[in-house]
């Protein structure tokens, strides 16, 4: 009897008493911004399926605008309730952090997305096709470029209203990305924000092959970067035995309260930690477009429909820098002495390469792409500071930069000729003579990019450089000002072209946009000037928001 029992015990054990699995506790209120946007995106899909084609555009517009405004209101309500400061905490079983940086960045992303949405919805720039108003997106994405089915789709007046739910899905991913508090959430958010963007990039109405090529490049390189990220996550999990930011941070610091035998085996293995962290940071640097992971930027910026480029350049950068900040400041502060030298190098190379390569560009969208690379370098200088003022300066810079970017790309959509947007720089010659107002507005954006005082660009640049200098990175500041000087050259060159060159006889025309694009541009100019002249309120906001919860 006893022997059988012993034999049996080889393949059976006494079962634990049945326990009730606790239902996960979800703080719906604190997650409201994300939930609203996801919900609206799903509604958008239903609209696409069930609402008649004629009224889809308006229905989608309505859903998207309401969702973004409501989500922004939710962010403001949370911040007003103290979730940015005193009540900051972790929600959704440790998956999402609700704290100052998260709410600040979510607010920024939502506003940027709202302004970006206006440029998505613009339908007056392209000439009417067969009596139907069309936007910047392909009539039917599935129709092969140049084929009969494409012609039929155009003739039937189809428009790709799917862009609205796609935009909302991307926004949902972006809202989670900087707030993710464990590695899996981070990865899911990364994919949720990336996949819709890959699709959006492929949807240009004009120059469709170029647009599709850009999308494929973006997708392949993005998938590659995602794989790196995932591999990094796996290694970090192997090292710390946990996905949670807080636990990993404790293991890295060596302050973990309870060391299990399994953890004791792996936590001394620095190779796992260093390689894992490096791969993870690489994935994020890809998203922000830092050198040497920047190769996709110019092609994608150029090929994607311009409204998408503007939205992507602004909002993705905000989300990705938010995630990078949280990763470096919450998970890896114990590794500071390892990542700071590397990030120094990345920041220096990014600033210089972005500024120098931009000089040779002849296409306005590629030029802005390289300029965005240089700006990623400036922001990295603030990230490296590793001080509270570093966080708040980065937050401020991101807010300032995203509105300039979206405004600048909105202006690019206005300058057109028979082939669509006239993005070659030589076509912009003498624009200041033809349409002084548009050229002046674009000049304001360029001056803000160049960091001329009294624009938001200067306030932001000053903030990050100040933080970097206080953090002891004086050489970085010097490289920063030098590359600013280099960068100023090509911004100025565009201004020269617009104002001091004679207009070409058959130059492009400036389309008169609907109030939608006008609003986008006006918001861009207003934010640029207000943040340049009276930044105090927003600096306070960023300063108050500058503490991560752990």
């Amino acid at each position: 009897m006893s022997t059988t029992a012993a034999v049996h015990s080889l393949w059976t054990t006494a079962a634990d008493p049945i326990v009730k699995i606790d239902a996960p506790k979800i703080e719906y209120g604190q997650l409201a911004p994300t939930l609203i946007v996801v919900g609206a995106a799903l509604v958008g899909v239903l609209v696409e399926a069930f609402v008649p084609r004629k009224s889809r555009y308006y229905a989608q517009m309505f859903v998207s605008v309401v969702a973004l405004v409501a989500a922004f209101a939710a962010v403001v309500a949370l911040a007003a309730d103290g979730y940015a400061t005193t009540k900051a905490g972790i929600a959704a079983m440790g998956a999402i952090a609700v704290d100052g940086p998260a709410l600040f960045l979510q607010g920024t992303i939502l506003l940027t997305a709202l302004v970006g949405l206006f440029t998505f919805a613009e339908r007056r720039l392209d000439p009417e096709a067969h009596g139907n108003r069309v936007d910047s997106f392909a009539a039917q994405a599935a129709a092969v470029p140049g084929s009969d089915s494409e012609k039929r789709a155009v003739k039937a007046g189809f428009t790709t209203t799917e862009v609205f739910p796609l935009l909302l899905f991307a926004v949902a991913g972006m809202l989670v990305f900087p707030a993710a508090n464990d590695l899996l959430t981070l990865f899911v958010a990364l994919e949720v924000l990336s996949l819709p963007l890959y699709l959006l990039c492929a949807l240009a109405r004009r120059k469709r092959l170029m647009s599709q090529e850009a999308a494929v490049k973006y997708f392949l390189l993005g998938a590659f970067a995602s794989a790196f990220t995932l591999f990094g996550i796996a290694l970090l999990y192997g090292y710390a035995g946990s996905m949670s930011y807080a636990t990993i941070a404790q293991v890295v610091d060596g302050t973990v309260p309870e060391i299990t035998p399994a953890l004791a085996d792996t936590m001394g293995n620095d190779a796992l930690l260093l390689i894992g962290a490096a791969l993870l940071v690489m994935g994020l640097l890809f998203k922000v477009g830092a050198v040497p992971f920047h190769m996709w930027t110019p092609d994608v910026y150029q090929g994607a429909p311009t409204p998408v480029t503007g939205f992507m350049a602004a909002a993705t950068k905000v989300a990705a820098f938010g995630a990078l900040l949280r990763l470096l400041y919450v998970v890896l502060p114990g590794l500071r002495w390892d990542w700071r030298p590397v990030m120094w190098g990345v920041a220096i190379v990014t600033m210089l390469a972005g500024a120098i390569v931009a000089i040779t560009q002849t296409d306005i969208k590629r030029l802005l792409a390289y300029s965005s690379i240089a700006h990623a370098g400036f922001i990295l200088a603030g990230v490296i500071a590793a001080t509270p003022s570093g966080i708040s300066s980065v937050l401020f810079y991101l807010a300032a930069y995203s509105f300039v970017t979206i405004g600048a790309f909105a202006v690019v959509t206005l300058v057109r000729d028979a082939g669509g947007e006239a993005t070659h720089l030589s076509r912009w010659a003498g624009l200041g003579r033809r349409s002084p107002l548009v050229a002046a507005v674009f000049a304001v954006f360029l001056l803000a990019f160049a960091g001329i005082p009294l624009t938001s660009g200067f306030a932001g640049k000053f903030a990050v450089f100040k933080a970097a200098a206080e953090g002891g990175a004086v050489p970085l500041v010097v490289v920063g000002v030098i590359s600013s000087a280099v960068a100023a050259f090509f911004y100025i060159r565009v201004i020269v072209l617009m104002f001091f060159s004679e207009p070409r006889p058959e130059g492009p025309t400036v389309a008169v946009p609907s109030p939608l694009t006008m609003t986008a541009i006006a918001v861009g100019v207003a934010v640029t000037v207000v943040l340049g002249v009276a930044p105090q309120y927003f600096l306070d906001l960023a300063g108050d928001a500058g503490v991560f919860v752990r």
Binding site: A469, E502, Q536
Partner: protein, 523 residues
């Protein structure tokens, strides 16, 4: 709260700029009158500042202070000392003449797009520059100063690149190319200087924790704020580099001849007589006060650079074939004198330098504006294209001669007093440099008199035979300035009275005393 006089003086031209820019395209003349009106009203305010300023009172007067960007430690702090008052008065004085002289410079050639309004833009930009220059003379907050020091480049850039001389000999397209080259060169030089300064401004904040000139200078004087020697020197170099580009000092001067050559005469006056003064002014106010030790450390090198500027500028002026380029090189030579006076660290030297800034502004304005009238009549800037003008246009030639004589510092005209003071001030401390610099005066006589001789005397060239003399508007521009040149040449006391206490203060900041004359020391 009293009336914010300094803010008003800076804000009025800014409002004028907006108002002028808003005038509809068809009402060009109204825009001109509006600009003139605003520049005259600003002059009135500047004179009020001059009257309200008490030379024997506090160091900074009419002060205003408001919180601005607390996060950066930046305050909106204004205040003027004697040096600033003199330069604000100069700026406000010159702008109405610049506006009047440029009355027809920006009339559109052909009726282009209805919305293209070059005239409105021209005058609005001039007023915008005036506003920014005035506020940078008033700012006692380093950051506030920096913002306008940089921001004024933008309107200046559009003035240089957008408006040039009519009837260019190579045709309009070539002229536009050269203009935009000059404008870009101007902007890049100054922006590079400014960005280097930005690094130093940030460094100053990291060291001092705020941007208030008065607080930092006081903390430095009390010894509350210690700076490591190397830190102070690096920061000094960052600031000085920007000011030396702006001033401009050899070897950072090469943008000036291009910019002055390609822009219209009133804009050239705006560059050299007004905007560049911010550079030399800032050396006095910021470099010496914030970094006294480093200033003393750098003095020998700067003195040598200044002397090189004097001689090099003068030599190149002798060799020029283009009238405006000649005046530009002459200005480089004169800026050498100003910098030399500042860094001689004697009271005569610095009073002389300040006086020099004012006098050089007036004398260059006379010379350049008349040169502009001359060039617009002939449609050429080349000296060789002129000859015998004094026979056909005696008033023009006569006033041109007065301007030229002022440039070569003829006794009896204003620049003589200042040049003499600078040389005396330099000589008491650096005799060798003083002697070398004196050769600059000899060369000045050469380039101005040769210029006059080649353009105004000799047989009348057929192309200039029909040249009309100065018109009423042009005489209205020149006459008051000439009167002022003579008046300040005979009786400079009003300016020196205002300037001297401020100079004494600055010298005490760097803890330098005037060297005693040896006779007295021997007693």
């Amino acid at each position: 709260m009293s009336f914010p006089l300094l803010t008003a003086t800076a804000a009025l031209p800014a409002i004028g700029a907006i108002a002028t820019a808003a005038v509809p395209a068809a009402r060009r003349t109204a825009a001109k009158w509006l600009a003139l009106l605003f520049s005259l009203a600003t002059l009135a305010l500047a004179i009020t500042v001059l009257v309200r300023f008490d030379p024997d009172g506090d160091r900074y007067q009419l002060t205003e202070s408001h919180s601005w960007i607390a996060d950066f430690g930046v305050r909106y702090e204004l205040g003027v000392d004697g040096i600033a008052v003199a330069l604000i008065a100069l700026t406000a004085l010159l702008i109405p003449f610049i506006v009047l002289a440029g009355w027809h410079d920006a009339d559109p050639l052909e009726t282009g797009s209805k919305r293209w309004r070059p005239t409105q833009g021209f005058f609005a930009l001039i007023l915008a520059v005036e506003a920014m220059v005035i506020i940078s003379f008033e700012a006692t907050d380093v950051f506030l100063f920096y913002i306008f020091f940089e921001a004024m480049l933008i309107p200046m850039y559009f003035l240089i690149g957008g408006f040039g001389d009519r009837a260019h000999k190579d045709g309009e397209e070539k002229a536009a190319t050269q203009r935009s080259y000059a404008a870009v060169k101007f902007l890049l030089y100054n922006l590079a200087g400014g960005l280097i300064m930005l690094a130093a401004v940030i460094g100053l904040y990291v060291v001092a924790g705020n941007f208030s000139l008065t607080e930092i200078a006081q903390a430095r004087a009390n010894g509350e704020l210690e700076m490591a020697t190397s830190t102070e020197r690096w920061l000094f170099l960052g600031f000085f580099f920007a000011f030396a580009v702006k001033a401009p000092l050899w070897p950072l001067h090469t943008w000036l001849p291009n910019a002055m050559q390609e822009s219209t005469a009133p804009v050239a006056v705006l560059i050299t007589a007004v905007v560049d003064k911010v550079g030399t002014f800032a050396m006095l106010r910021f470099c010496l006060q914030l970094f006294p030790e480093a200033s003393k450390w750098a003095t020998p090198v700067i003195m040598v650079l200044a002397v090189i500027s004097i001689i090099y500028g003068a030599l190149l002026a002798v060799g020029q074939r283009d009238i405006k380029r000649l005046i530009a090189y002459a200005s480089i030579s004169h800026f050498g004198f100003i910098v030399m006076g500042i860094f001689a660290m004697t009271s005569q030297g610095q009073s002389g330098a300040t006086l020099y800034m004012v006098n050089h502004g007036i004398s260059t304005a006379v010379l350049m504006l008349i040169a502009g009238f001359l060039i617009s009549r002939r449609g050429s800037r080349l000296i060789a294209d002129f000859g015998g003008v004094q026979k056909v246009a005696p008033v023009l030639a006569g006033t041109f001669l007065i301007g030229g004589l002022a440039t070569l510092s003829l006794p009896g005209l204003a620049p003589f007093v200042s040049e003499f003071l600078v040389l005396v001030g330099t000589f008491t401390r650096y005799p060798v440099i003083g002697i070398v610099a004196t050769f600059g005066i000899v060369l000045a006589a050469l380039y101005t008199l040769v210029l006059y001789q080649r353009t105004m005397t000799g047989p009348v060239k057929p192309e200039v035979a029909e040249m009309p003399d100065l018109r009423v508007r042009e005489i209205a521009v020149v006459a008051p300035l000439v009167v002022l040149l003579v008046f300040l040449g005979v009786y400079p006391k009003p300016v020196t009275d205002i300037v001297n206490p401020a100079v004494k203060q600055t010298l005490s900041d760097v803890q330098k005393k005037d060297p005693q004359p040896e006779v007295e020391a021997a007693k």
